[in-house]
């Protein structure tokens, strides 16, 4: 290709377009972080130069229940992912390795849970949970969060198992290793990067979920996504606090996302796109 001046103009134009999109995609987050460091008096000034203060952080994290909401989110999302890993990884293995009647239908059944409208699940569940005493409890939320974390884990981990050649497993079997040693000492280490990143992605999705905790929890368990709406109704004078609440709730997900970059596409598409 010749690098003519026409080509250079085109490249410059492409860079500008990309830059415009980057501003649209990233500036709101920058703005949120900036406001979180602004004093209440300076929130209204829309300037980029100001005296950064930690007052908002101190107020939200130490003088309100926000820290407790974060712990609730951690317990519920972490618990959900843990349960999903324990029951989901063996299921993923079975769906990858065994050939049995109705296998694909079973796998699609599990996937279809992801596409069921959350409200549809949650309306009757609200009634059932109240009868069973699961309403507003950790176990109740961890259970319903399985609809978020389990299909993801099973489908993505299944793909990673399928990537491992059966011959390796066969060789170990011939060498006389029992199945549990093959599974835990050989297969699990092989899929570990994939497993860890899909577990982290499942955690992010669970952490971000809104409809389930909104309807199935009220006071004893109060994840951040629901707690944050409490700051919404308040007057604009407290926008600093709102920005802190938003920043703190976004942080864990963004940090985890940076760790799992290489596996992100595969996880997001449930293994449909092997990026």
């Amino acid at each position: 290709m010749m690098n003519t001046s026409k080509q250079r103009v085109l490249t410059a134009l492409m860079n500008i377009l990309l830059l415009i999109y980057a501003v649209f995609a990233l500036f709101p987050l920058l703005w949120m972080v900036m406001i979180s460091f602004k004093a209440d008096t300076e929130v209204f000034t829309t300037t980029f130069i100001f005296n950064p203060t930690l007052a908002n952080y101190k107020e939200v994290l130490f003088r309100s229940n926000y820290a407790r909401y974060i712990i609730d989110s951690l317990i519920v999302s972490g618990g959900a992912v843990l349960v999903s890993v324990v029951v989901g990884v063996p299921a993923a293995y079975a769906l990858a390795r065994y050939n049995f009647p109705r296998k694909e239908e079973l796998a699609f059944q599990i996937l279809s849970f992801k596409f069921a409208p959350e409200i549809l699940v949650v309306l009757p569940l609200f009634m059932l949970y109240q009868k069973m005493g699961l309403y507003d409890s950790y176990i109740g939320l961890i259970w319903v969060y399985q609809l978020i974390s389990l299909p993801l884990l099973i489908w993505v981990v299944r793909g990673y198992f399928e990537d491992i050649s059966v011959e390796i497993e066969y060789a170990a079997q011939v060498d006389g290793y029992p199945w549990y040693q093959i599974f835990f000492k050989m297969l699990i280490p092989l899929i570990k990067p994939g497993l860890v990143s899909s577990a982290l992605l499942a955690f992010i999705f669970a952490w971000n979920s809104f409809t389930f905790p909104l309807i199935l929890a009220s006071s004893k368990v109060y994840p951040v996504t629901v707690a944050i709406t409490k700051y919404l109704g308040t007057d604009t004078a407290r926008y600093g606090n709102l920005a802190v609440a938003a920043t703190v709730s976004a942080l864990p997900a963004i940090i985890f996302a940076l760790f799992i970059q290489k596996h992100l596409v595969r996880g997001l598409s449930f293994g449909a796109v092997k990026g």
């Binding site: 259970w143 938003a246 976004a250």
Partner: protein
């Protein structure tokens, strides 16, 4: 997928002992029990749609098709259906077109900007929709927001955003686009990077134009990835709840009362459980039919794409 099951495990299951034959089902069972335990109420829901069930009263009775007839003859339902479809179609269409464009830019510009952006553009996708909505409220607020200040420079004052029926839908769609375009970008980038080199090399020799190559090579080979993006985005956008709820709770008036929000409002605010369910069942039906169609198209696109590679 089929090739992976070669070897030891591919024995005729009818000849192996029962204990071995049920093993895969036993391994999958816990996952199914956990999820089906939650899907049971889903079946109950269908039953409740034929009753006058309410949280307020201890008993309920069968009312036949009343709830369904009431819904189908109400203006509320057709408005909700319209909003869900508009939201789903517009946000998905914009996300796919914009995502495709940005991914193509990122792929062809291999400079530092594109390398940094590949990492950073993931951020909006990882923020909870509720949080994202708050971020945008900070931006759009008429006294604190920077967008208002920016518009003032162009002589535009008090742009209403979510406060006016004329701009509310546009505002929620914009927030959805902000969150989810990254999803399409990531998928298309992965698709672009897995494209085989040889068809492009022979096209270069033939001297086709860039547009010709895009239309006849890149696009058909990207189609499978685009269908996956369409599947995931459309299914989620049709039932989007968090963004609308956090921004306006369905207002102003009933401007943003989608099927999801109407169902929630009827079930919880008005405590009319029986009449809330049909709304969400209609949504479920739409999602199911569309998902099946997209999956079918995706398979066809996949076959055509692998034909091009050869």
């Amino acid at each position: 997928m089929g090739n992976n099951n070669l070897g030891i495990k591919k024995v005729d299951l009818n000849k192996v002992p029962f204990k071995v034959r049920v093993r895969p089902y036993l391994i999958v069972a816990p996952s199914l029990i956990i999820t089906i335990g939650i899907m049971v109420p889903f079946v109950m829901a269908i039953w409740f749609s034929f009753t006058n069930y309410s949280f307020q009263f201890p008993t309920h009775r069968f009312v036949g098709l009343d709830n369904w007839v009431n819904m189908l003859t109400s203006r509320e339902f057709w408005n909700a259906l319209k909003i869900s479809l508009l939201y789903g179609l517009f946000s998905t269409a914009i996300e796919i077109l914009l995502g495709l464009g940005i991914a193509l830019l990122l792929n062809s510009l291999n400079n530092w900007l594109s390398k940094v952006l590949r990492v950073l553009l993931v951020f909006p996708l990882m923020v909870a929709p509720v949080t994202a909505t708050i971020v945008w409220q900070l931006m759009l607020n008429s006294s604190v927001g920077i967008v208002e200040k920016l518009f003032n420079l162009f002589g535009l004052y008090n742009f209403p955003w979510a406060a006016s029926p004329d701009t509310a839908l546009m505002t929620v769609i914009m927030i959805d686009v902000w969150i989810n375009t990254s999803f399409v970008i990531l998928l298309v980038l992965a698709g672009l990077q897995s494209l085989p080199k040889s068809p492009f090399e022979s096209a270069k020799i033939d001297g086709g134009s860039a547009w010709f190559n895009f239309k006849n090579l890149t696009l058909p080979m990207l189609k499978p990835s685009l269908y996956i993006a369409l599947l995931f985005r459309l299914m989620a956008a049709l039932q989007e709840y968090a963004v609308i709820f956090a921004l306006t709770k369905g207002g102003p008036g009933d401007t943003l009362m989608s099927l999801s929000l109407t169902s929630y409002q009827k079930g919880f605010t008005f405590q009319k459980f029986g009449s809330a369910i049909p709304y969400i069942l209609v949504l479920w039906l739409i999602i199911n039919v569309l998902a099946k169609w997209i999956v079918k198209r995706q398979r066809i696109a996949q076959k055509q794409a692998s034909g091009l590679e050869g």
